[in-house]
């Protein structure tokens, strides 16, 4: 509507008109013409009340809208000028119409005819349009008689044209062609069109003519512009409305009542004459119109031709159509021979000519030939399997797998009962693997697990990890070391000869007198007992008042002194008896009659604090006590120097003064090892030299007492860290330590780097001892065994000592996991004494 207004507002100017006409003549404005046509079409649509369709794209695209407006200005002019020309050279029909209008006398049938012609033209044009459009859109293929449908489709087409200008340009030729054909169809209009088309300008010139038919421009003039106003408002006026130029449309002269009457009588068409409300003219209805009206009144389908109940054609049926639904012609290429195919064929032909094509032959799956050529010469291959990892061969069957085994292999009744007690599933498994007897070969059935066995073998071959190991050929005896037989190494104690019964509690201390006649034992029942070895008789029992932890005889056989550790005291006892020589006893007593004079000797304060030399009371003296050394802490061990004058005591709880060396003859003490001697567990004197061994945690220290310095420091292995006892070989070149870690370690003084470890104990080692004269060694451990070993030491430096365990002694009873606590050799005979937790002392011979 706005467009219309613009057209009305802006008046045309002559100069532009001229210019345009020139252009038009030169054929430059062709495209614009096309545009204009569109516009005209649209205009016609608007008249037909299809605004919505027209306006849609404009509102959506503002730029487009503006351009169109500008265009419109020019085109409007152009068109108006054209109209002028058109009006000059218009068709006969038009002119007659105009005349009719002017004369305001138009016969109704004529106009109807005109309309019909118009309709026919329209439909023709539309048909052609459709034909052209088919190439673009198949969707609009369906033809229909309804005008509106056709328009709407056109309108849609236009929309698409407007939106896609590119496609428009491309298709313009086709459209032109399509339009060009039209004139031939329309007889009259085509003649006029030909006249108009003089040179070059083709389609654009034809279009107005088309519009002359299509466009109801004559109606436009007649047309009343009052709109929807009720006509009653004009009843009193002589006009019924205004035409588009604003001039009154006068009411036609309808005559008076008589005329009407006459018409009613005379006019045969009176019954079918209707007054047009807008023009006030009479319109005679045709038969078709009547029929239409009648049908509408009857509420029937307007057209009689339309069959409501036509046979239904299902487009999408199960029947396969021979031709595709679309009538689109096949492409050119589908009629031409393919180039690639030609090439392929030529290649094939070439191959055939060259004899290169054979029938397809599958390679043979199995083929045998001489693969190796020779038996022993290996074929060179990139990879060799390591023979080390060769799979072990299958196990060969044995007698028990026989189908008819010897009778002893068959399961006994007891075994069968046992199998019956098993679960059913298990039973079958066991049964399959049991030896069975069949009376004849014919009766041997399937074996239940055979396939599974083969499968398991396969699994073993590819899945289980292999490792190389040394194959053991021989028996366990071959692994035994080659040692001399024990019977060749006699004498050694072999059996228990005597038991010394009498102690009521654990016997912890044990010592044999250097002359080998008497034995002293100390126990937790606060007693020290003196025994006669030969008879096993207890000679004396001394009640010392506390548990005895250690006792030792003075090694000097000229005196009779027994050093006993009782709690924190060390007591020197002279156990007189009928077995001891009187001279020795008197000599000993004389020694202890008067305490030695100290003179200028000043006792070190530390020593003074640690030890006090005391004389026993008269009661004690009667018991045999001669000297009492009082220590700060309980004393665990006492060791005599081989000469018998010096002795050392060990108190584990005293920190810096744990080891104290005393001199018996002068009643003096000294603490030689201040800091280093911490956590001392065992100690010993060297049998020949002035050396002193101290065993601490994880190390053994050897001190020279004369030089007053550390000679050797030996670190033990971690497993024998906690040393329980130490024994020095009488030759002085070797020593052995027993540890809580179940081990005995043999050291050589000169080559201590390579100790020899004996692992034959299964419990913590409690005590070790060398024999003085025989090459014997004994050790006791918490596993309840005393092991006697032949320990031969050679004078030759190169030769290693020979250690052969010769006897296992076992008879002590256990008490709280402890069995043998102390052992000791007889000084001259191969006789062993052991003291146990069961309160007995035993002699092994």
């Amino acid at each position: 509507m706005s467009r219309k207004r613009k057209i009305v507002q802006e008046a045309p100017s002559s100069s532009i008109l001229k210019f345009d006409e020139d252009l038009d003549l030169l054929g430059i404005l062709d495209e614009d013409d096309d545009e204009e046509e569109d516009r005209l079409q649209q205009k016609s649509f608007t008249k037909l009340g299809l605004h919505g369709l027209d306006d849609g794209p404009d509102t959506s695209d503002p730029y487009y809208y503006e351009d169109k407006d500008n265009l419109h200005k020019e085109v409007a002019f152009y068109k108006s000028s054209k109209k002028q020309t058109k009006s000059k050279n218009s068709t006969e029909i038009k002119t007659t119409k105009k005349k009719d209008k002017k004369g305001k006398s138009k016969s109704v049938p004529d106009s109807v005819e005109e309309d019909k012609i118009e309709d026919a033209n329209k439909s023709d044009n539309d048909k052609k349009d459709d034909d052209v459009d088919d190439s673009d859109d198949d969707e609009h293929a369906s033809e229909s008689s309804d005008d509106e449908d056709i328009f709407s489709s056109d309108g849609l087409d236009d929309e698409s044209d407007n939106s896609d200008e590119d496609s428009d340009e491309k298709d313009s030729d086709d459209e032109d062609e399509g339009y060009a054909e039209k004139p031939s169809d329309d007889g009259d209009s085509s003649a006029v069109a030909e006249e108009i088309i003089t040179d070059g300008v083709r389609a654009s010139k034809q279009l107005p003519d088309e519009y002359a038919d299509n466009d109801s421009s004559d109606e436009e003039e007649i047309m009343n512009t009052i709109g929807n106003v009720p006509t009653e408002w004009y009843d009193e006026c002589d006009h019924i409305g205004f035409d588009h130029t604003g001039q009154k449309i006068y009411k036609p002269d309808r005559g008076d009542g008589l005329d009407a009457f006459l018409r009613r009588i005379e006019d045969p068409n009176y019954m079918r004459t209707v007054v047009d409300r807008l023009t006030g003219q009479d319109v005679v209805l045709v038969d078709d119109d009547l029929e239409l009206i009648q049908r509408l009144v009857k509420a029937q389908v307007p057209s009689a031709q339309y069959n409501l109940y036509e046979p239904f054609m299902d487009l999408y049926s199960h029947e396969v159509m021979e031709t595709p639904l679309s009538g689109r012609p096949e492409h050119k290429r589908s009629f031409l021979p393919s180039r690639s195919e030609r090439e392929k064929i030529s290649r094939m032909v070439h191959n055939i000519k060259q004899n290169l094509i054979h029938k397809h032959q599958r390679p043979k799956r199995y083929q045998a030939y001489d693969l190796w050529k020779s038996d022993h010469i290996p074929v060179p291959m990139r990879r060799r399997l390591n023979p080390k990892y060769k799979a072990p061969p299958c196990k060969l069957p044995t007698n028990s797998n026989s189908y008819n085994p010897p009778p002893e292999f068959l399961p006994t009744k007891f075994q069968l009962d046992w199998i019956k007690s098993k679960h059913v599933r298990q039973r079958a498994e066991i049964w399959a693997r049991l030896p069975k007897k069949y009376n004849s070969l014919r009766l041997v059935p399937n074996h239940r697990t055979y396939v599974m066995d083969v499968f398991n073998r396969c699994l073993d071959l590819y899945m289980s990890s292999r490792f190389a190991y040394k194959k053991i050929i021989g028996t366990s005896k071959d692994l035994l070391p080659d040692l001399p037989r024990p019977r060749d190494l006699r004498p050694f104690p072999t059996r228990e000869a005597l038991q010394f019964l009498g102690h009521k509690s654990v016997v912890r201390a044990l010592a044999v007198h250097p002359l080998g006649k008497i034995l002293a034992t100390g126990s937790d029942d606060h007693t020290v007992k003196i025994w006669e070895i030969s008879s096993g008789r207890c000679i004396r029992t001394l009640d010392v008042g506390d548990a005895v932890t250690c006792l030792q005889w003075n090694p000097n056989s000229r005196v009779l002194v027994l050093a006993v550790c009782v709690g924190s005291c060390v007591v020197m006892i002279n156990p007189e008896s009928y077995l001891t020589e009187a001279a020795v006893v008197t000599r000993t007593n004389a020694l202890f009659m008067v305490p030695p004079e100290q003179g200028d000797y000043e006792v070190n304060k530390k020593v003074q604090r640690a030890v006090t030399w005391a004389t026993p009371s008269s009661d004690e003296r009667q018991m045999g006590y001669r000297v009492v050394l009082k220590h700060l802490c309980p004393v665990q061990q006492i060791v005599w120097h081989p000469q018998g004058d010096y002795f050392a005591t060990l108190q584990r709880e005293a920190k810096s003064s744990s080891v104290i060396i005393h001199q018996l003859s002068r009643h003096r003490s000294q603490i030689p090892f201040s800091k280093s001697a911490i956590k001392v567990t065992a100690m010993s004197f060297h049998p020949k030299k002035a050396y002193f061994y101290i065993c601490c945690q994880g190390r053994v220290r050897v001190y020279s007492l004369l030089q007053k310095k550390l000679i050797r420091l030996i670190r033990t292995s971690s497993s024998s860290e906690w040393i329980s006892s130490i024994a020095v070989h009488p030759s002085g070149e070797h020593f052995i330590i027993g540890s809580h870690g179940k081990r005995l370690t043999w050291y050589e003084m000169e080559a201590t780097n390579r100790p020899y470890t004996l692992r034959y104990h299964h419990g913590a080692v409690r005590s070790v001892a060398y024999h003085n004269k025989y090459p014997l060694m004994a050790s006791a451990a918490d596993d309840g065994r005393v092991i006697v070993a032949h320990a031969m030491v050679y004078n030759d430096w190169i030769k290693d000592p020979l250690i052969v365990p010769v006897k296992e002694l076992r008879s002590h009873a256990f008490l709280d996991g402890v069995c043998v606590l102390q052992l000791c050799w007889h000084p001259c005979n191969p006789v062993l004494f052991t003291a146990g937790a069961d309160g007995t002392v035993r002699l092994w011979q």
Partner: protein
């Protein structure tokens, strides 16, 4: 750095290897099977697994690297791709495409792999055990998808080829029938795919081995009958007929070269030479002679197999020992003579009731053939007559472990194998006599039991003994001897008993006297008497015990392992020996059923406190085990913690 050198760098876990080769696990398994690659146990698993102590199969990195460049992997990948294509074609129902894909499926031949794993022919022959078992198994197995018809038919062919080689070369030395039968079902839990991979490799390998083996005995490969038989209409159509000719193992086959008979040297000269030579050569010569004897064991004998016998294995044994075989023509083609042939010396029967038509031949059970082969002598046929209870079938794979139980039958076998051909006859006679004796005794016992079964049942055993004592002097003597021996053993105080028969009794008496005296002495004083034998054995025991104390740390574990094994074996062998003795006695009737089976073992009822103590002990044991394992774990992690137990001990 961890995992960059040493053990960790040498090994690769399976999952990593699979990822590296870009294969699925199944394809990887297949490659491993064909290429003979297997996981290897590292020296230190924790190091090899970079600190992980869980078990994982570890492969050598070298092996996996080798696999990376292997054409087999490409074939497998190709197969994978083709399988996908095939599946697609199937889903699209594109028959042509399917055919095309199937046609293009690569066939991989394994000869290179065979060569790679067995660079020499001898290597392959050494490793023939597994392939043969597998192939003989798959001759009789059901055809179901992972296993196809061509596998089975190929197996059958290879088997026939191998057996013909054995017959031609007559190199069969031992035969043994176990309880494992002839026809097999596949249990559901056996993965036949894996079996197939193995089978494919073994088929390839055995194909080449057979080719070479048959070449050695101058046979044409593939096997072909010497003269093509003229087949009539129906037979001609049946293609199996030709195959069956070969399968019969009894048809002359085409050879590549003409036979040239070798003449062995004169026996006398060689035997003279051998007597002067060293032990080793003598041994080799004896073996050679035995092989020769085995080859000619059945020569000149004609066998006829009854239909119920296992034709194949018997033909193999008989033919490889130089005999002739035939069977009813209805059983299998290619029977050379019929049952009514008068020259047949042995007919093999596996039925208890068989009416013996012909007197000119022996009717024996199949076990006789195998036993003869194993003993390399023609054994007497009496015990093997049809319907007789057979003598036990002894395993010819003799084992020479110390303490291994050798049943008396095996001892006989050993004796026979060790004897020279001249001695064999005498030995056989001896054995037969012993057997006869036993049988006679048995018969006597049975008769008596029949007599007395009606009269008295209570005093059976005693009476048997008495009767036996009365009956025959020989038996009596023997029994007395036996009794005496038993007594001596029981008393454990015998001097060594000499073998001389005459002095035996007197010595025994003397021994008894001594014993009595000594016993008195023992009672009188503290001295103890040790019999010499017992003393020695005891001393030896203590000797070994002392020596075990000094075993080197390295060998200690191994020693105990071996020792337990030996003791187990010893215990089992002694058990079997006792059982055998008891059974023998039971046969004669000296031992009743109850004594044989031992008293019925009933569960001893535990008191509540006992049960509680047992439970407690088991708990303590498990706790200790747990503590140890925990301590070990700590140690493995590298924490220098002392084991918990050691700590407590030291404090």
């Amino acid at each position: 750095m961890q995992g960059e050198a040493g053990e960790a760098a040498r090994f690769i876990s399976r999952s990593r290897a699979v990822r590296k080769l870009q294969l699925g696990l199944q394809a990887f398994n297949r490659v491993c099977i064909i290429k003979g690659i297997f996981p290897i146990e590292p020296k230190n698993r924790i190091k090899a697994q970079k600190g992980d102590s869980k078990y994982r199969p570890l492969y050598l990195k070298k092996d996996i690297k080798f696999l990376m460049h292997d054409p087999l992997i490409w074939t497998i990948r190709q197969e994978e791709a083709l399988r996908k294509k095939l599946a697609k074609a199937r889903h699209l129902r594109d028959g042509y495409k399917e055919q095309l894909v199937k046609r293009n499926k690569p066939i991989y031949r394994l000869e290179q792999n065979v060569l790679e794993r067995y660079p020499t022919f001898v290597d392959a022959v050494k490793d023939l055990g597994d392939p043969l078992t597998m192939i003989f198994l798959f001759c009789n197995i059901e055809v179901r998808p992972p296993i196809y018809e061509h596998h089975v038919s190929r197996c059958q062919r290879l088997k026939i080829e191998f057996l013909t080689y054995v017959i031609e070369a007559s190199c069969l030395t031992k035969a043994f029938i176990t309880t494992k039968g002839y026809y097999y079902e596949v249990p559901p839990n056996a993965d036949m795919k894996i079996m197939r991979h193995f089978l494919e490799f073994y088929i390839a390998m055995l194909g080449f081995v057979n080719f070479r083996l048959l070449g050695k005995v101058d046979l044409r490969y593939p096997l072909k009958p010497k003269v093509m038989p003229r087949l009539k209409g129906a037979e001609k159509k049946d293609l199996d007929n030709l195959k069956n000719l070969m399968a019969s193992l009894n048809y002359p086959l085409e050879k590549t070269t003409e036979e040239s008979e070798e003449n062995l040297d004169d026996n006398e000269t060689t035997s003279k030479l051998i007597k002067g030579s060293s032990e080793k050569t003598q041994k080799v010569y004896a073996e050679r002679m035995q092989a020769e004897a085995r080859r000619k064991l059945f020569s000149g004998l004609k066998f006829f197999l009854n239909p119920e016998c296992n034709r194949e294995s018997l033909t193999l044994v008989i033919r490889s020992c130089g005999g002739e075989v035939s069977w009813p023509s209805t059983v299998f083609p290619c029977s050379t003579y019929k049952e009514d042939d008068q020259c047949i010396t042995h007919q093999i029967v596996d039925r208890p009731n068989f009416d013996k038509k012909y007197l000119t031949r022996f009717y024996v059970q199949p076990q006789w053939v195998y036993d003869c082969l194993n003993a390399v002598t023609l054994k007497p046929c009496q015990p093997y007559l049809p319907g007789c209870p057979l003598p036990p079938h002894i395993c010819p794979f003799l084992k020479n472990f110390e303490g291994w139980y050798i049943p008396p039958e095996e001892e006989d076998l050993r004796k026979l194998l060790a004897a020279s051909p001249e001695e064999k006859e005498a030995l056989l006679k001896e054995m037969a006599a012993a057997e006869q004796k036993k049988l006679a005794m048995l018969r006597a016992v049975n008769e008596k039991s029949d007599d007395e079964s009606g009269s008295e049942d209570d005093d059976d055993e005693d009476k048997y003994d008495e009767d036996e004592n009365d009956e025959s002097d020989e038996e009596k003597d023997e029994e007395v001897e036996e009794d005496g021996d038993d007594a001596v053993n029981e008393a454990d105080a015998s001097m060594e008993v000499d073998d001389g028969e005459g002095n035996n009794k007197e010595e025994e008496k003397k021994d008894d006297g001594k014993e009595e005296e000594i016993k008195d002495v023992v009672r009188r004083g503290k001295e103890r008497f040790y019999s010499k034998k017992k003393d020695e054995s005891k001393e030896e025991r203590t000797d070994t015990r002392m020596r075990t104390l000094m075993i080197h740390k390295k060998n200690r574990k191994l020693y105990h392992k071996l020792k337990t094994k030996e003791t187990k074996r010893l215990r089992r062998s002694s058990m079997l020996k006792d059982r055998r003795e008891a059974l023998e006695l039971h046969k004669i009737g000296k031992i009743s059923d109850e004594q044989l089976e031992g008293p019925p073992k009933t569960k001893i009822k535990q008191t509540f406190s006992e049960r509680r103590a047992k439970l407690y002990q088991s708990r303590v044991r498990s706790a200790v085990r747990f503590a140890r394992s925990a301590a070990n774990k700590n140690r493995f992690r590298g924490e220098k913690k002392k084991p918990a137990i050691a700590d407590t001990r030291d404090e």
